[in-house]
Symmetry: C2
Subunit: 463 residues, 2 copies
């Protein structure tokens, strides 16, 4: 098996395992207690905090350990918003933040706050000027990830932090995907991260609040972790998290070069190996281990199953793989194809031969899924019958992604160049995937309008 989903959860680093096992014996007592076992636990906790703070680039007393990255994000946003209540109730987030950030923003909005979602370009990055333009006199907090978890695009955090600082607005950085690779640059004010993303154990998140930032912890009070993370601390896991962060950092420079070469290989070769593929995310400013692409005429769930059968564990932002039947909000915000979406995120230590094997297997897997779904064979040729302008209608109501796009592709050859075709669909993914298909195939997307039972999408054939 090749596990290529490190961005969801990285396998436990060997150092984390050793530290966890060792501290099960030393670190189970309450570090607030005065007796020997408590003092020993306190020493372990202090040492873990020092080591982690050093890796983050902050003071030890600015960093608390939380129960997860999600809880660090939730507590950080709630505490910062409450601490800045007098400044206003406006929150800025990018449109491609992790769901934990977007869900915290929903709660803020439901409670009477206002939220601006800063859009991203087609590579998934915000523009520093676009972000700066969202700053208002009543902005209490801005949030930006250090790098995107689905497409690997690195965000311009330092530039955004500078404009936030100039406006007197704290910036919270969700560094979950990047902290294992290095500290976050720029003058950020708060930072959240998650140990299981860098090879530490689950159950440990980090919340850093720079000295001098206004912060009012929400929820029932609890004196542990400076009042910012309630509950008995998960000390053995905290010790393991600290040890593994140090270990992955020591290996980061070398691994970064290696993984970047492997993901670049996937980026470069997939479009040649698989017809009708869109590789997404920034080609340059990206994390070393993540590469994401979408395959036309394929449904993500079947693709995941077939890749799993072939021995590869990857994830997908396609709608059919989520419980909500909507495509990934990241792909949506980028305006790229969501059907047949595959995220490959390589854990440190990934072997070259496994990537080669993936590249060898992928074309036949995609072809197999397409054949099953009756996708059009890509000939590159289209039969043009100019003169006929009967507006063709494809009824894909009740059909799930990628069927509407497949049906569209099947009939486009029957549409005269310059003529139009309408697709009726009620699957949410069509709204994203039909325009994306047009972009990929050089056809013109004319827009959508409500139709009985769904939406009508109109496409003009150009080539």
């Amino acid at each position: 098996m090749s596990y290529f989903d490190a961005a969801s959860a990285a396998p436990l680093h060997a150092v984390a395992r050793q530290a966890l096992t060792a501290s099960l014996d030393e670190g189970w007592a309450d570090p607030a207690r005065l007796y020997r076992e408590g003092r020993r636990a306190r020493m372990l906790l202090d040492a873990a905090r020092e080591a982690t703070a050093e890796a983050v680039g902050c003071r030890a007393d600015e960093l608390v350990f939380t129960a997860s990255g999600t809880s660090a994000v939730h507590s950080g946003i709630a505490g910062a918003l409450a601490g800045r209540r007098r400044a206003g109730r406006h929150l800025i987030v990018s449109a491609v933040e992790h769901s934990s950030v977007l869900h915290a923003a929903e709660v803020h909005q439901a409670g009477g706050g206002t939220v601006t979602e800063v859009t991203v370009g087609r590579t998934g990055a915000v523009s520093p000027s676009g972000f700066a333009a969202a700053l208002r006199p009543d902005t209490a907090l801005a949030c930006l990830q250090s790098a995107n978890h689905e497409v690997g695009t690195v965000q311009p955090v330092a530039e955004v932090a500078a404009s936030c600082r100039a406006a007197g607005v704290p910036l919270l950085v969700d560094a979950a995907q990047s902290l294992g690779w290095g500290p976050v640059e720029g003058a950020w004010s708060l930072l959240a991260a998650s140990a299981h993303k860098w090879g530490g154990p689950p159950g440990v998140g980090l919340l850093v609040v720079r000295k001098g930032e206004r912060f009012a912890p929400q929820g029932p009070r609890d004196e542990r972790e400076s009042g910012r993370a309630a509950g008995f601390g998960n000390l053995p896991a905290i010790v393991a998290a600290a040890a593994s962060l140090r270990a992955v950092r020591a290996e980061a420079a070398e691994e970064e070069v290696r993984l970047r070469e492997l993901t670049e290989r996937i980026r470069a070769r997939v479009p040649g190996l698989v017809p009708e593929v869109e590789v997404v995310g920034d080609p340059e400013r990206r994390l070393p281990g993540i590469v994401t692409f979408s395959c036309l005429y394929v449904d993500g769930e079947t693709l995941l199953h077939e890749l799993d059968r072939a021995g590869f564990s990857v994830s997908s932002g396609s709608s059919c793989t989520s419980s909500t039947l909507t495509p990934s909000h990241v792909l949506k915000a980028m305006g790229v194809l969501s059907e047949g979406n595959i995220r490959v995120s390589l854990p440190p230590g990934t072997r070259e031969e496994d990537v080669e094997r993936f590249l060898a297997v992928l074309p036949e897997v995609v072809a197999g899924v397409r054949e099953k779904l009756g996708a059009p064979v890509s000939t590159g040729e289209a039969v043009s019958r100019p003169g006929e302008d009967t507006a063709l209608v494809v009824d894909a109501l009740g059909r799930r992604c990628p069927i509407p796009v497949i049906e569209l592709a099947k009939v486009i050859g029957d549409v005269p160049v310059g003529g139009t075709v309408r697709v009726l669909a009620d699957d949410e993914a069509a709204r994203l995937d039909i325009p994306a298909w047009c972009e990929m195939r050089g056809q013109q997307y004319l827009g959508e309008e409500p139709a009985p039972g769904g939406t009508s999408y109109t496409i003009r054939r150009l080539t």
Copy 2:
């Protein structure tokens, strides 16, 4: 070293350790994923949930894993109150609940809700009729612990649950201290617990919400754990928690008899070994492993240090051992002595000889601390000089617990029988400890009144 503080955190059970280590290899992936590692993680999670639900006595789909017992309590109370918002905003808690419950009640009150704290008797138990009397038409939720964490007193949960049920009010039981010993009886509606209290790893709590109970999770949404516990699950620890709960339950019947005999030995012998001691908590309806007593004229912190030097790890509810300089709210609610307080909580497997060694060491440790503090030597005789009624005043302003009580004890011999003495003190513990001293020594406590710089407590000498 003898670790006698299992009620704070129990050392990891051998089975928990094995399960944790084993599942580090199998249980690190995201159980929501469709690939092999994810399915394996999902199977482990499902099996852990089934096993834990069986031990709790609930359905698997009623139980979610949280990041700690504290977070289970916080989420449980917030969700139940929100779910019952239409019934009203009245919350009932006992006065001796764990701080996580009381702090959640504070938040509810700060948000406009009302809270009734049900008082307890001198043994620490609520009376079922007293609890029932607090129920109102607008009561949204009632909370009662299964057993007290500081004195071991078992609460009448089944009776209280019955009256709550009759009134249509859900009862949330904090079962943190008792779940390792057996399921909670009675018709409770919600239950919270914490794995590290039964020998499981830190980082795992349980929240059970019975089917049909109204429950509206608060905070940012998260689809994991039925929307009731946000964040990436701590699966290896969850597996270990489930395995160790099963293991401690298998050993519970035998260990209960053994530990009950050992704590009974301490209860019975300490008053004979150490003069001026009050053993607190219910002598019959109590947890097997907890015994608590308070020693006059001793400060808790020094006592803890000396016991630690002698090789015993215990905890204390005395004010001088907490960061707030107020005595334990439990001892306060019970109206018992708080100075020189010691809680002995024996972990399963505690050896008889260690308890015997504790009983051998305790008298000299207490005597040593008393000598250092200049406490009065207990002679049992008091010089009586009837006729003199000059109201004596002891100025203990600025002196910390147990000095005010020591000074009172020193002068009581100079007070004629029938005469009074006033103690001026500004230490919060005096409010509890001076009446408790009167009760123990057969003197009459007449009450308190404000005095410049503190409070004046008046005592009449009776014997």
